[in-house]
Amino acid sequence: MADYAHYLPDAERDLRSRSSLAQLLHIDVFLLLPLLVLMLGGLVVLYSASDESWTTVIRQLRNMAVALVGMAIAAQIKPETYCRWAPALYLVGLVLLAAVPVVGVKAMGAQRWLSLGFVRFQPSELMKLAMPLMVAWWFAREGIPPRPMSLAVALLLVLLPAALIVIQPDLGTSLLVAASGLFVVFMAGISGWYIAAAVLMLVASLWPAWMFMLKDYQKQRVLTLLDPEADKLGAGWNIIQSKTAIGSGGWTGKGWLAGTQSHLDFLPESQTDFIIAVLAEEFGLRGVLTLLLIYLLIIGRGLWISLTAQTLYGRLLASAITLTFFVYVFVNIGMVAGILPVVGVPLPLISFGGTSMVTLLLGFGVLMAISTERRIITR
């Protein structure tokens, strides 16, 4: 370093000060930059999707500010602290989930909310974070590859909260929460045979699940996916309109604020779950590919952090958080385009809403904590 500094005196100072500032704040710049670009772009789309409502944009900005602060705080906490507190957090989440059917608040036909007087929140959101923390803690403790007993315990850890969420009922969230735990199991290196067996069992259980477990509205969603034209004005309406919005955008899009599907109210949920249809309609395939690229950069950085993490716990946790994020992205973008059933998953960091924004950025805060821990140690 000193040699180079001789020739480029400013460079070293720049490099040192920048990296040291980021280090000092435990911020991963390569993660932060695409996140910020994504969120800013999201505001631009939201402004259009909300029919140019500054109120909505400002509220979303406030959500983002809160979430970013949360992320910054989460980044300051050492991974080993997370590891230590994971069981406690998981237990709290479990208790809260169990409490929902007893003291929860009903909204839209499902009992998912807990009221704390000043704020209502969904314990399942907490579980989205607590789950990977917990399963990673377990495998970090047990070592990998897992022995059958520890694998069984891990699956129990995954299934317990998932089951509690299913009975709310919220099948979509339950699957996502379960996925975030299963990613840890996958990362822990379970044998390919286990995975193959699991897939087989899943396929085998499809028919009984359809017959006995799925509720009518859930079946409807699947049927709608297969044939949205069957019920044009009912269940199929959303998906037909979103596909129309996307398709009519073409390569270049209709232009910002010029999307007819969204601005004329044909597109439902255009500020929340279906916001990518607005983007696709107004910015075309160009916009969609750009969005996918930014998501890819974030996921890639997350996986990189996982690869280079100093501890097993960090590695498992980083990849689980990253892959969970990926699943949100994939499920949302896929369902709006009509290749996955419609489940209530917002487009990460772009859809309007505070809860998911905070949960996601807290996750990225944890990622940054893992990422910056490595650097500090390297130094």
Partner: protein, 616 residues
């Protein structure tokens, strides 16, 4: 901790396992993103055109712009049929999730009758799903306010502004102008659907029906951008409609009102024509009805009240009412007698007050016999016979003429055929002949029937309009025109269409008209009662026609006879005699006699000649 993680080599192995899995995960992520990219590529590039069309179709709706219906004005520019703005509640079915629920919601807010629902169901069948289907017409201000407040909960409703026909003169002109009503299923079946897109009303009767094609105009179209709730946001392009043509009438509302008021409660009809062109100056049929009742669907109760009314207000007596013309045919028959050489102006006929056919003991009485016990005079000539309405003179003339020549002589005056007036439902009346009787009744003609025909009784039936039409020919000494209510359509002159004139020599016309002048101005004239204070000359003819046959020896006693069996009173007239500017025919149904009719004619003519009604 140390016991659970025993060796450094394990950490290395863990790291290797984990790295492998991260790489696998990364590959899966890439695969997933390629799938997404491919999906969006296929939607946005491969199927782009299809979705573009679909989004355009979503957003853009082709909409009919109904033309404004042509207005109707009287001769002085007064509006007789106008278009008033109103609002209607419609439903865009495509946007409605649950129609029953929406209807229930709407019923809670505004009054929606079973009739409305029934009509809605009818209309619904012939509309495309994105077309608004009218549910309730003529929303009140309160309805509008209530709907505006609840608008956000009522997805799929549309409030449409429209123009509705209004007849400011109510019942005064219903039998002339007629009315429009909602297009019914039968009409819809035969209608050019494209031409009537967006139009709910169609002319049902009167001028409104006769001139429907011109009044309606040509439908226009516009492309409108709508949102998902069917609300129109802007018009993208349009082909404007061509509004219907305005009708300008010969008719004078003032004269019409005077005629209607002169009739008062008397059932009957008044037809006033302009002898210079056949223009209808007034056409009254009493009683009448309010045309506005029919515009948006008359209620069953109102309709039954009109239909079951014994005074038949829906019957247009002026053009549909068929009555024996009675003595009003005497001037025409007299003219025919002169032209055929059967009589001359000087021919005198003895008048004992009755007449009988040779070899037949039956006595045909003169109406005067009942009053005076004798005839009009020892001998009567044609002028006197007209002035005093001498039946004996005409019994004799009729016998000599015979029924078939009589029919031939009356036909050119317009009897026995529709006049061709430009309002609907005109009746032809009956002009009997031996051939007619054989055809209609399968019986030969009897000589006694000829005598009845000679005084306008028996089988002969005429409408008040036909008598007015015949009187035009008398007033003009032969010339007449097809009667026309409409003078001008837009800038195009209509009306004044000449008919084949009645041919007769000047002298013969003069004799007959002199008789008609005496009807009013001679002391012994049958309508002398209206001569008081006249400063112009009226030529007229009274008529009384029997409703039921009176037996030969039976007395006709007005007091004891049922009102509906009383005689009809007629009066036809034109004035001034030297340069006729108005012709009037008045029918007083069951009025007892012509005295119920001629005062009406006097008032109408006074209004026309004296009250400054005459214009260019």
């Amino acid at each position: 901790m140390a016991s659970r993680r025993p060796a450094l080599s394990d950490t290395g192995r863990e790291s290797a396992i984990n790295s492998g899995r991260v790489i696998v995960a990364g590959a899966l992520v890439l695969l997933a993103f390629v799938t997404l990219g491919w999906r969006y590529y296929s939607l946005q590039i491969v199927d782009y055109q299809q979705f573009l069309v679909q989004s355009e179709r979503n957003r853009v709706r082709l909409e009919a712009v109904p033309p404004k219906r042509g207005l109707i004005y009287d001769r002085k520019g007064r509006l007789l049929a106008s278009n008033e703005p109103s609002h209607r509640l419609s439903i865009v079915l495509e946007r409605v999730d649950d129609l029953d629920e929406l209807l229930a919601q709407l019923k809670a807010l505004v009054v929606i009758s079973e009739d409305d629902i029934r009509r809605f169901e009818q209309r619904r069948r012939r509309r495309r799903p994105y077309d608004p289907v009218p549910l309730k017409l003529q929303l009140s201000d309160e309805d509008m306010a209530v709907l505006a407040v609840n608008r956000h909960q009522l997805t799929g409703i549309a409030i449409e502004a429209q123009l509705t026909r209004h007849y400011p003169y109510g019942d005064l002109l219903s039998h002339v102008v007629g009315y429009v009503g909602r297009i019914n299923e039968r009409e819809a079946a035969t209608l050019d659907e494209a031409a009537y897109q967006g139009t709910l009303h169609i002319g049902k009767i009167g001028l409104e029906k006769r001139y429907e094609a011109l009044l309606h105009g040509t439908v226009g179209y516009q492309n409108v951008e709508t949102n998902a709730h069917g609300r129109i946001l802007r018009v993208l392009d349009q082909q404007p409609p061509t509004d219907g043509a305005n009708l300008y009438l010969y008719l004078d509302v003032d004269l019409q009102r005077v005629a209607a008021e002169a009739l008062g409660d008397q059932r009957g009809a008044v037809v006033a024509l302009d002898p210079k062109n056949g223009g209808v100056l007034a056409l009254v049929s009493n009683p009448s009805f309010d045309a506005n009742l029919f515009v948006n669907g008359i209620s069953r109760r109102d309709y039954n009240a009109l239909r079951n009314n014994p005074d038949t207000p829906l019957l247009n007596r002026a053009v549909q009412g068929r009555y024996p013309p009675g003595s009003t045919v005497k001037p025409m028959l007299g003219l025919a007698g002169l032209e055929m050489g059967l009589v001359t102006a000087e021919t005198m006929i003895p008048d004992p007050g009755w007449y009988s056919l040779p070899g037949d003991s039956r006595r045909y009485r003169d109406w005067i016999l009942r009053i005076r016990g004798t005839g009009h005079a020892d001998e009567v000539n044609l002028q006197m016979a007209i002035a005093q309405s001498c039946d004996v003179y005409y019994y004799d003339l009729a016998r000599e003429m015979g029924i078939d020549r009589m029919a031939d002589a009356l036909a050119p005056f317009g009897f026995g055929a529709p006049t061709g007036i430009d309002i609907t439902s005109e009746k032809a009346g009956i002009l009997p002949s031996s051939e007619w009787k054989q055809r209609a009744m399968g019986q030969p003609w009897y000589p006694g029937e000829t005598l009845s025909a000679g005084i306008g009784q028996g089988y002969m039936l005429a409408t008040p309009l036909q008598l007015a039409q015949a009187t035009v020919a008398l007033a003009n000494r032969g010339e007449s025109f097809t009667p026309s209510v409409v003078r001008r359509i837009g800038n195009k002159q209509v009306g004044g269409l000449p008919r084949e004139p009645v041919a007769a020599s000047e002298d013969h016309w003069a004799t007959v008209i002199a008789g008609m002048v005496d009807v009013v101005h001679n002391r012994r004239g049958t309508a002398h009662a209206i001569a008081g204070g006249l400063n112009y000359t009226i030529a007229g003819k009274t008529g009384t026609s029997q409703v039921i046959g009176i037996a030969q020896d039976e007395e006709y006693d007005e007091d004891t006879i049922a009102e509906r069996h009383r005689n009809h009173g007629w009066f036809i007239a034109f004035a001034p005699v030297d340069a006729p500017s108005i012709v009037v025919a008045v029918l007083a149904e069951n009025g007892g006699g012509s005295s119920a009719a001629y005062p009406v004619a006097r008032q109408v003519i006074d209004q026309w000649l004296l009250a400054g009604a005459v214009d260019g």
